[in-house]
């Protein structure tokens, strides 16, 4: 229990190191960002220490102890700094809460969506105590975490594995958890996916709040996110690398959509940072982040060009890309035994294109999409296209285009990278569709609740001043 708490504290504390960049945001948003950023920064520190400083950060003796206590002290100091600044902000006369809350009767929609969120949390708590192990847990994610823990965080030990080219974000974090627990176990790591998901939901809550959405509407959107794609329930209780990736990637895209709507450069920065960070958590993460950013550029070329003109901002983007860049630099000097990438020759891919094979892949994809668990959010998609046609909302169009591109990308991946056995069954597609679900529910926000007349204030203080 104490070890789990220490794990949460260190992740959040390291994530709060980036808090000065997000100072203008809602408090909950900052907390969510701290969880998400910490979940990339902490493993990046461990990876950097092992690959570039040549020390064993998780070793039980010598420099490992020094490194771990250093990270813990740093995290605690950054949490203390955050808390102090928050207390000071609460005491400052200009920033105190002026308007007392009005008493309102409880709406039935608030009750339903709160209960549905509580039901989800309840099932997650029960689920992570179930002795249920997924294939990917022991075949790679937790295996890699075990290797890292036993070798004291030696990143070279991962290279002979079949998944050697996978960025070590999630395994490093699980190894950090193992080191704190003093025990290698899959069961301990099951807390991690819910933590990330909580981070993503907290962040979305704060973000919607900042854009002056009422609590009842936020609750509706979040309940739809959680239950709209019912793969979330199962994969939140498994220690897969997919979950943290989804929880970093989707808020990044939602930030980009909001920046398109409000023209706020700071939201654009946050979106880009989250997308670049997410690349450290998935082997093809940089491709997905890349095509999402290209799509954003196509939709919003002027804003992007203005953003890129500032040297300081470019530097910040380059820093955010450091984890994935340094990982690829490391791979350049340490070739792996087997890696992610196509093993098919052009003629083999060509042989897959004719009808029988392709129609079966498409059929398997359709089977997953039309499955009862995924169908609700997929049924909303055509409705949203209708809305987008009527409302002419660019942010909504952008989200819909990202979803479509994801499908096109996944189809291409099945045809070129996956083995024919996996392609014919569209293996793991229900998992991959998780990254589409929050985008569609955010699209629902733009379609239903986004009134164009509402003026958006760049900061909370501006909004409060206006309100007061």
């Amino acid at each position: 229990m104490i070890a789990t708490l220490l794990f949460f504290v260190t992740v959040i504390g390291i994530g709060l190191l980036l808090d000065p960049f997000f100072a203008h945001m809602h408090r909950l948003e900052r907390l969510g960002l701290a969880i998400l950023c910490g979940s990339v920064l902490l493993p990046f520190l461990l990876f950097f220490a092992s690959a570039y400083l040549h020390i064993l950060p998780l070793a039980k003796t010598g420099v490992g102890v020094f490194f771990r206590s250093g990270v813990t002290v740093l995290a605690l100091a950054s949490i203390a700094r955050f808390l102090l600044s928050e207390i000071r902000a609460l005491r400052a006369p200009g920033r105190s809460r002026s308007a007392p809350r009005k008493k309102r009767r409880v709406q039935i929609s608030v009750m339903i969506s709160t209960l549905s969120l509580i039901a989800f949390a309840f099932f997650v708590v029960i689920g992570i105590h179930t002795r249920l192990f997924g294939w990917d847990e022991y075949s790679y994610w937790m295996y890699a975490a075990k290797v890292l823990t036993v070798t004291g965080g030696d990143i070279h030990a991962l290279l002979p594995n079949a998944y050697g080219s996978y960025p070590p974000g999630f395994p490093e974090l699980a190894a950090w958890n193992d080191a704190l627990q003093g025990d290698v176990s899959i069961q301990h790591a099951k807390w991690m996916a819910p933590l990330y998901f909580l981070g993503a939901l907290t962040l979305e809550w704060g973000l919607f709040k900042r854009y002056q959405t009422s609590t009842s509407r936020i609750l509706i959107i979040l309940a739809l996110t959680v239950w709209g794609c019912q793969s979330y329930d199962l994969f939140t209780i498994l220690a897969y690398g997919e979950m943290p990736y989804v929880d970093l990637y989707t808020p990044g895209v939602i930030y980009l959509a909001f920046s398109m709507r409000s023209k706020d450069m700071r939201d654009l920065n946050t979106g880009v940072i989250l997308l670049l960070f997410s690349a450290f958590l998935r082997v093809d993460g940089w491709i997905v982040a890349g095509f999402t950013l290209v799509l954003f550029f196509l939709f919003n070329a002027r804003q992007v060009l203005t953003a890129v003109r500032a040297k300081k901002r470019l530097l910040a983007y380059a820093c955010a890309a450091l984890p994935i860049l340094l990982w690829n630099l490391y791979l350049l000097h340490h070739p792996t035994l087997a890696g992610w990438g196509t093993r098919l020759t052009l003629s083999r891919v060509d042989a897959r294109l004719p009808w029988p094979f392709m129609s079966r892949v498409l059929g398997a994809m359709w089977m997953t999409v039309s499955n009862l668990r995924v169908s609700p959010i997929m049924a909303v998609y055509p409705l949203l296209i209708g809305y987008a046609l009527v409302k002419r909302n660019r942010a909504l169009w952008f989200l819909l285009a990202v979803v479509l591109t994801q499908f096109a990308y996944l189809f291409t991946a099945y045809m070129t990278v996956f083995s024919s056995f996996e392609a014919l069954h569209a293996s793991s597609l229900d998992r991959y569709l998780l990254r589409v679900d929050p985008l569609i529910s955010a699209g629902l926000f733009f379609a239903l609740y986004d009134e164009k007349t509402t003026r958006v204030w760049a900061t909370m203080s501006q909004a409060r001043r206006r309100a007061g």
Partner: protein
């Protein structure tokens, strides 16, 4: 959908329906997944326990694990549990690495195929589930009992060839009945 009330009510009903159906399917899915994973899990633990008591648990112990059963699932579970021991990568002798029977792999149709795997990876031990085809290749008479786990030691892995002394290169160190 101009009226906010109608909008909210429709969405609330949708949430109610999604939560209800979600709870039902989730309970069902957890039960199905549990019943599917309980037996392989117990078997992998049993195999790992026997091997951990018999072989030295270090990286230098290179093992060829031939479960012959379920396309990698059992292999990965056992490899996870016995970590510091080096397992010869499954995909190096069985492609695609999902589905299918291990013994159908081309490498296990001839003595030369087995010998080349053992030489290439410097295999010191073989853990094999009882299979007549494999045992006859090694030149060992299959026993009548089914569900046996046999641990072999390979005497000179680097000089193993498919010659007359092939069968004498394997030394049975343990036989355990699984059921």
């Amino acid at each position: 959908m101009k009226s906010p009330f109608v909008k909210t009510m429709i969405l609330s009903l949708a949430i109610l329906w999604l939560t209800g159906s979600g709870l039902i399917t989730l309970a069902h899915r957890i039960n199905t997944s549990l019943s599917a994973s309980a037996n392989p899990d117990a078997e992998a633990r049993f195999v790992a326990q026997i091997v951990a008591h018999t072989l030295p648990m270090r990286t230098a112990t290179t093992v060829l694990y031939l479960n012959g059963k379920d396309g990698g699932d059992n292999y990965y579970r056992v490899a996870y549990l016995l970590y510091p021991i080096t397992f010869v990568p499954y995909w190096s002798w069985h492609r695609p690495n999902a589905g299918g029977d291990v013994w159908n792999a081309k490498a296990f149709s001839t003595r030369a195929g087995i010998a080349s795997i053992i030489r290439r990876h410097r295999v010191r031990y073989i853990i094999a589930l009882h299979h007549p085809k494999f045992l006859s290749l090694l030149g060992i008479k299959p026993s009548a009992s089914k569900g046996m786990l046999i641990l072999f030691q390979v005497k000179n892995p680097q000089s193993l060839r498919a010659n007359a002394r092939f069968s004498s290169s394997f030394h049975v160190i343990k036989q355990v009945s699984l059921r």
